[in-house]
């Protein structure tokens, strides 16, 4: 029997892996909503409509988490009992901290300069991509959860920096 405590991947009938086929995920989402959305039960008894609303909310939440690689990675780790983004988790390798500072300086200097911002954006995209590949390998193949948690924290940092770069583009 399907219940609310079921994990997001089971709900979507997907294996518990980081590497998710986005097209399948979207397809399953639409299929699930088509079955359970309250509009599909508009003429059903009230109890069933309420239940449908709860289910639809649950499916929306699961989809939101699974759609975003960062949230999905964090969720898979939480299933392993690892809270990757807990406030106490602050350790970071020294070289990444150095790299962080360099990027921050680069951003400060690149403000107002389209070409420099584009260069930084590309560098961050490459890093982002590389980290996602590493995360996929650490989670799906190696099962190195503590290492994956660190990768996730790096990703979170990169994502925030990318957001700031995109704001700097808008300010041009």
């Amino acid at each position: 029997m399907i219940d609310f405590s079921q994990n997001h991947l089971d709900l979507f009938g997907l294996p518990a892996r980081f590497d998710v086929d986005v097209a399948t995920l979207e397809e399953r989402y639409r299929t699930l909503q088509s079955a359970i959305h309250p509009d599909r039960h508009a003429t059903a008894p009230e109890t069933q409509r309420r239940l449908a609303a709860q289910w639809a909310g649950q499916v929306n939440e699961a989809y939101r988490v699974l759609k975003s690689p960062l949230e999905r990675g964090r969720y898979l780790l939480s299933l392993q009992g690892v809270d990757a983004l807990a406030p106490t988790q602050t350790s970071m390798p020294a070289e990444f901290l150095m790299q962080q500072m360099e990027w921050r300086e680069e951003l400060a200097e690149a403000r107002g300069d389209y070409a420099a911002l584009s260069r930084l954006e590309q560098a961050l995209q490459r890093e982002h991509h590389g980290l996602l590949n590493a995360l996929s390998c650490q989670l799906d193949e190696l099962g190195h959860y503590e290492v994956a948690a660190e990768t996730l924290r790096k990703l979170k940092f990169i994502a925030r920096l990318e957001e700031e770069v995109s704001e700097a583009f808008e300010a041009l």
Binding site: G13, I36, R40, T43, N60
Partner: protein
């Protein structure tokens, strides 16, 4: 599959009866209703053949209000009692109304929503809107020849919670059963998508009389998924009229105008604006109350100069929605224009330039919203077999709680797909604290003062603990209408102190009850008879729904369970033969409760069928 069929006289498994349902576009400038007849949506016309009802209501001291063309015709002679563009005042407090000085009304600064002082007394914007809806309800029931099962009412996607609640209250006052509040751009997309058989990502640019919305939707095999929405709830065609108005004052050196002259000039400005959509220049002539005549000519170039920044203001939300959806311009397959104001050539040109493609305009921008709403109403009333269309809409603005220092803690971000439930834990900050107050706000800004205040409530009965030990979980829930409810509960002690808050910025339940009784006096209906009628309608709906559920999924129940439900149905059927509304209600509640387990099993079955039906191979793998 073995079905347990029950058939008792009087409630055989429902012969599929067509239920009368309408879609209503409650607009700033005009409103209209549409319905689905033999499979296709069409607008409902009045006796004179007009589809559009001007959103104008005139009040009298000694007779019921007059709505529509008749009211609009006298707005210049009786401006104080003739309310137009009331949508701009919905869910707004007196101090929210920036353009108060340019409105010819007597605004009353009442707590909550602003009121308008008329010959019939103070009227809330909700009551004025209810008068418009009542007219459309009468028109629809006359044309369709029966009582309406329900209506889908459209609202701007960018309407906040107070404005949505106000709209729903207005419908309730007008005696309408609201099947759904539907976002206007989404409604337009339904009408458009179904008409054109469209697939892919579309942007809907909706500039109405008083509001602007931009929604980005993904259309895929009947599923309409809103990816992002943005807009401006205080920007519309009316603002273009105001610019012309201001220009005339500047040109002529006229200062203080009487309410009559204000209306005359605004109406002339509006005519000039409309004429400029087809001609390079337009005459602007009127005679003021004091006999002074004005005769001017407005060139399109000047008009476009006057309104350039308004057009630019609409492009900002376009950019924002694309960014929120994580899309670039190339992803947009088509742009749909909705709203009468999109007839202005400057708008069409700006949209074409921004999106790099010529916008689609083949459906009437004044009717497309009502047509889409009619299709959704038809589905929600149960007239269509399931499987052909599903809407997944989003919340337009972030929702949060005020925390220490006047900052907003975001609980539900904007563009979250509905329905959505999100919880957040808070704690006490003083030793022995037994109560905690919450301030619910809506908006994108960090400072509470810059957001819209929706509701305040207090949680009492927290067991005394040291500061920081209590865990108070605040749950936000936004339903498919986009309406928020909030509850709070203390968790650590296991003691439950819960409150449910319905944001009621504006009207209290008491006020609504009073307005209801007043409006029924007009209609000379008895409130009690009305209540019984409502309970009977609900009972009929419920009996039909349960009968249909039993017919389809009765095999999910044991013989005893089936019997128990049969018993509850029989009790309700018997209660409906009497005249005791409270008894009908009690039996209804019992039947609802008694079918809970059955409902759960039916949901499980539909989920299993959905996943296994289509993707059995993939799941087994």
């Amino acid at each position: 599959m073995a079905l347990l069929q029950i058939s008792e006289p009087g409630r055989s498994a429902a012969p599929h009866q067509h239920r009368l349902a309408v879609g209503i576009d409650l607009g700033t400038t005009h409103s209209l209703a549409a319905t689905v007849k033999s499979g296709s949506a069409e607008v409902i016309r009045d006796e004179a053949g007009a589809a559009l009802l001007p959103s104008a209501v005139r009040y009298f001291s000694d007779q019921p209000p007059v709505v529509g063309h008749e009211a609009l015709a006298v707005q210049t002679t009786d401006p104080v009692n003739t309310i137009v563009s009331v949508k701009r005042l919905m869910g707004r407090a007196f101090q929210d109304i920036a353009e108060a000085a340019q409105l010819p009304y007597r605004l009353v600064d009442t707590p909550g929503m602003v009121k308008l002082d008329t010959a019939a007394g103070a009227r809330s914007p909700v009551e004025v809107s209810a008068d418009i809806l009542r007219t459309l309800r009468a028109r629809s029931e006359g044309a369709l020849g029966g009582e309406l099962t329900g209506a889908v009412i459209t609202v701007p996607a960018y309407f906040d919670d107070a404005q949505r609640q106000a709209t729903k209250d207005a419908a309730k006052l007008a005696g309408l059963n609201v099947l759904r509040l539907l976002n206007e751009p989404t409604a337009a997309a339904i009408a458009y998508g179904l008409d054109q058989g469209a697939e892919g990502i579309y942007a809907v640019y909706d500039l109405g009389g008083g509001t602007f919305d931009l929604s980005v939707l993904k259309l895929s095999r009947g599923v309409f998924e809103v990816l992002a929405t943005s807009g401006n709830a205080r920007l519309g065609g009316d603002d273009f009229d105001q610019r012309i108005y201001g220009w005339v004052l500047a040109q002529t050196g006229l200062a203080e105008l009487s309410p009559q002259d204000m209306r005359l000039l605004l109406a002339a400005a509006r005519r000039a604006k409309e004429a400029l959509s087809d001609a390079p220049e337009a005459p602007l002539a009127l005679t003021l109350g004091n006999g002074q005549s004005l005769a001017m000519t407005l060139a399109r170039a000047i008009f476009e100069d006057l309104t350039h920044d308004l057009v630019q203001q609409t492009l900002l939300p376009c950019r924002k929605a694309l960014k929120d959806a994580g899309l670039s311009m190339q992803d947009i397959k088509g742009v749909v224009l909705v709203g009468g104001a999109t007839r202005m050539p400057c708008i069409r040109q700006a949209v074409a330039e921004f999106f790099g493609q010529v916008p689609l305009t083949n459906l009437d921008p004044d009717q497309v919203v009502a047509l889409g709403a009619a299709i959704q109403a038809d589905i929600l009333a149960g007239n269509r077999q399931t499987g052909d269309l599903l809407l997944l809409d989003v919340t337009p603005l972030s929702l949060g709680i005020e925390t220490m220092g006047g900052l907003t803690e975001r609980i539900i971000p904007r563009n979250a797909t509905l329905p959505v439930t999100r919880a957040q834990d808070f704690t006490t900050f003083k030793d022995g604290q037994t109560a905690m107050s919450f301030h619910v706000v809506q908006g994108e800004r960090e400072l509470v003062a810059d957001c819209r205040s929706l509701a305040r409530f207090e949680l009492r009965g927290i067991p005394p603990m040291v500061a920081g030990a209590a865990r108070i979980r605040v749950t936000f829930q936004v339903d498919a209408d986009g309406l928020l409810s909030v509850s709070a509960r203390e968790q650590t002690s296991g003691m439950e102190a819960a409150v449910a808050v319905k944001p009621s910025y504006g009207l209290s339940d008491g006020e609504i009850a009073r307005m209801l009784s007043e409006s029924y006096q007009y209609a000379q209906e008895d409130l009690q008879a009305r209540s019984l009628h409502e309970q009977l309608t609900e009972a009929g709906r419920m009996l039909e729904a349960v009968a249909a559920a039993l017919a389809g999924d009765g095999d999910l129940l044991s013989a005893e369970e089936h019997q128990a439900i049969d018993g509850l149905m029989a009790a309700l059927t018997e209660a409906t033969l009497g005249t005791d509304a409270a008894r009908v209600k009690a039996c209804l509640d019992k039947l609802n409760e008694g079918t809970q387990v059955f409902a759960g099993r039916r949901m499980d079955r539909s989920i299993r069928q959905a996943l296994t039906g289509r993707a059995i191979g993939a799941i087994a793998a």
